[in-house]
Symmetry: C2
Subunit: 443 residues, 2 copies
């Protein structure tokens, strides 16, 4: 790129900061010139034939007819690195995780191809014309639904995040594991879901007033099942039959799954084939063991369903490298199982000073909210953090607060994929050194 | 399915209709029991071992470990029919269209794999590390941007539909062409776009106050270029670098495209490599010829940029078949280049009576809005229509009104892919006969 030179950020160095280490007011940027671009080095460059237009010389792809238009579009071959990390690539008889590459995404929607999935007995190959959903138990009239039947009911469309409560479990380590946002936080994703309110189906079956729980069961060979409070089922649960506009993909529950906005991923039973209305929880494997995490005093939470408020910075983050001092946007995602995100603050000095980030609207309840913060990096070491608040007044706990209640390991965790505990929702800190390389740190 | 019998919709036949041929009030449905499901035919069915639970017998996929978890998820093999229709599957040296299968989608997001694309010289294989965007012409300082540089600017995320102004052109035919919502209307889609406001980049280059137009040019071998008013560029134009969270796919402009919310698709220049600031429009091929549609009086519109208000029903629609009398949801999409959708009305009697549909919120400006209408079909022939209004007071014209101004062909159009004219935005009518088969009709 010899025809243009890089310009340094002279203008924005004069802007008033809103917090330490170069956090800027979004308002202050207007009309000031952000100056990331390269300036052409010669003349006015108003003609294609001038030397200034050399960057416009044709690249090889501008000189020949391009590739065929496919029935289903796929990403460019230059995006091959944007894939899910797999925990069980050879499909051994154990759980398979696919993690979302947050450091490569922006906006709020997670494409279905990249939505996280966890399956304990592989992806069942379900014929949607044979699959049935049964509602039975403490109801007046047991009912059977096919996918075609469900498609005729009143549908609801909404954004919702889904998170495995084991997401970010690596951060229970007493020392920070060096890993990307994908490796640390890749078991949360966000999508537009369309489905039938479960309340309508339960109403039709005629639920017994004495009923307190549902047992939801999947058609996977594990017959994964979870107990769900009737209150949640009647409040906002959906039987989801579309994800981001199209049918669910097999890893996410094709052809239908339970969606319990804000509740731990495992309860959002995939391949849903049965809802049994009962008066007591099943105390199945996942609720009695896996998701009853142990506290420092040796006791365990029972029914810790809610995915609590959380945020993390995706840009810049581990795996990126800074291209020298100058203007950058700090951005990430925030979400809360309790409702809407009300505020996200960002720090560039490890939590000594904080500034309000801009929230990309509209802010949906129980869904990803993208936050953005203008920033001028002066090339010195910094520590970036984000911290979120929701409309119910919940705040993401500082690490010291969190560890005091929930504990941490005595030795460093070796793998980013170790599930030492559940429901980590404290801050994530990215340390940037003078060379622009980025580490996961605790601060 | 011998263990349960179908129940007919006894309850809802007693509901007060809100318009002719069975349109129902959404409010009236609550607590009334919609009754699409099959009832189990025996006993209380509270135990898995009872005969009532026979629908719960294990299907083959519930009896074996499932398939491998892939790095990129793909749809189930049972969804192979959900693909784009291609106009040029062998990539001959002409335009290639890929149309969105609206009749198979629900919600508002179009997945990137199914987003429509039109490319006039194939899909260029662009190396994002080599591609550059130049802003030059009537500016103080010509600038060059790489994808990496653009990623550092303040980004904006928003929903927006994109529509080829040739979408629905088949409906200029004087007789209705029998074709699906995909074939008729598949050149419109809706996505969450993330990009840099063009106003920021133009501000940095220092735009000459005398400038009136931009010429935007792509890096495809056609070097497709369009003239864009400076006013639009400063208002809400983006240089989009993410679509539905991930990088744009090649057919939609990888690695960067112009996004002009509400303006005809062709102006949203893909593979964007150049913006030249000028004082007069270029009068290029597409604006001087293709998109200057001829009116009945022989005159032509010049610069008919806006995609005007429109709606169509996707469920039920051509290609679906009704499963007998009973409850159904009528739903579809509405959108307007002018702003937010304010109202959608639905008719089941060919326009004699109308009722307000529910709009799925939040309603975004210049984006798909999903509308939904409860309906009890009595098995008699009906004609379904939708009609949309936007917040600026624009209303989708009735067909007679539209044809009076814009004309129609003298002979039936033979192919659903013929581009006889541009900017069709009148109503679409689906005629359902007593057997439940669905035709495209004019009403």
């Amino acid at each position: 790129m010899r025809t243009f030179k890089s310009r340094n950020s002279d203008h924005i160095s004069n802007l008033e900061p809103v917090a330490g280490n170069g956090l800027l007011s979004r308002r202050a940027l207007l009309g000031r010139g952000i100056v990331v671009a390269g300036a052409m080095s010669t003349g006015a460059g108003t003609s294609l034939t001038s030397a200034a237009a050399e960057p416009l010389k044709d690249d090889p792809w501008s000189l020949e007819n391009g590739a065929n238009t496919p029935p289903l579009q796929t990403p460019s071959r230059f995006e091959k690195h944007v894939v899910r990390i797999l925990s069980n690539p050879n499909n051994e008889m154990r759980t398979s995780h696919g993690r979302t590459p947050h450091q490569h995404l922006n906006g709020t929607v997670t494409p279905n191809s990249l939505h996280f999935s966890i399956n304990h007995s592989g992806l069942p190959d379900i014929d949607p014309n044979q699959h049935k959903l049964v509602i039975h138990g403490m109801v007046k009239q047991p009912l059977v639904f096919t996918l075609e039947m469900l498609s005729r009911y009143p549908l609801v469309t909404r954004m919702a995040f889904l998170e495995c409560s084991g997401n970010s479990a690596t951060m229970f380590s007493n020392e920070p594991v060096q890993a990307s946002a994908q490796a640390l936080h890749g078991l949360v994703s966000n999508a537009e879901w369309t489905g039938v309110p479960l309340s309508i189906l339960l109403d039709e079956a005629g639920i017994d007033p004495a009923a307190k729980w549902l047992i939801a069961e999947g058609a996977d060979s594990l017959a994964l099942h979870r107990s769900v409070p009737v209150k949640k089922a009647l409040d906002d649960a959906l039987v989801a039959i579309y994800q981001n506009g199209e049918r669910l993909m097999p890893g996410n529950g094709y052809p239908m799954r339970l969606l319990l906005p804000g509740y731990q991923g495992n309860m959002n039973v995939k391949f849903l084939r049965r809802i049994k209305v009962v008066d007591q929880p099943a105390m199945g494997f996942y609720e009695a063991r896996t998701y009853s995490q142990i506290l420092p005093d040796g006791k365990a939470y029972r029914f810790h369903f809610l995915q609590e408020i959380k945020s993390f910075i995706t840009h810049p983050s581990f795996g990126h490298s800074m291209k020298g001092p100058g203007y950058y946007e700090i951005s990430g995602v925030a979400y809360s199982g309790t409702g809407r995100i009300a505020k996200v603050m960002v720090s560039a000095d490890g939590g000594r000073s904080w500034a309000d980030a801009a929230l990309q609207g509209p802010v949906h309840s129980q869904a990803f909210t993208r936050f953005r913060m203008p920033w001028r990096w002066d090339g010195q070491p910094v520590v970036l953090q984000s911290r979120a608040w929701d409309e119910a007044g919940n705040v993401q706990p500082l690490r010291a607060e969190f560890v005091a209640v929930r504990g941490q390991t005595k030795r460093p965790v070796a793998s980013p994929f170790a599930f030492t505990n559940q429901h980590y929702n404290s801050l994530t800190s990215w340390g940037i050194d003078g060379n622009g390389s980025i580490k996961h740190v605790y601060a």
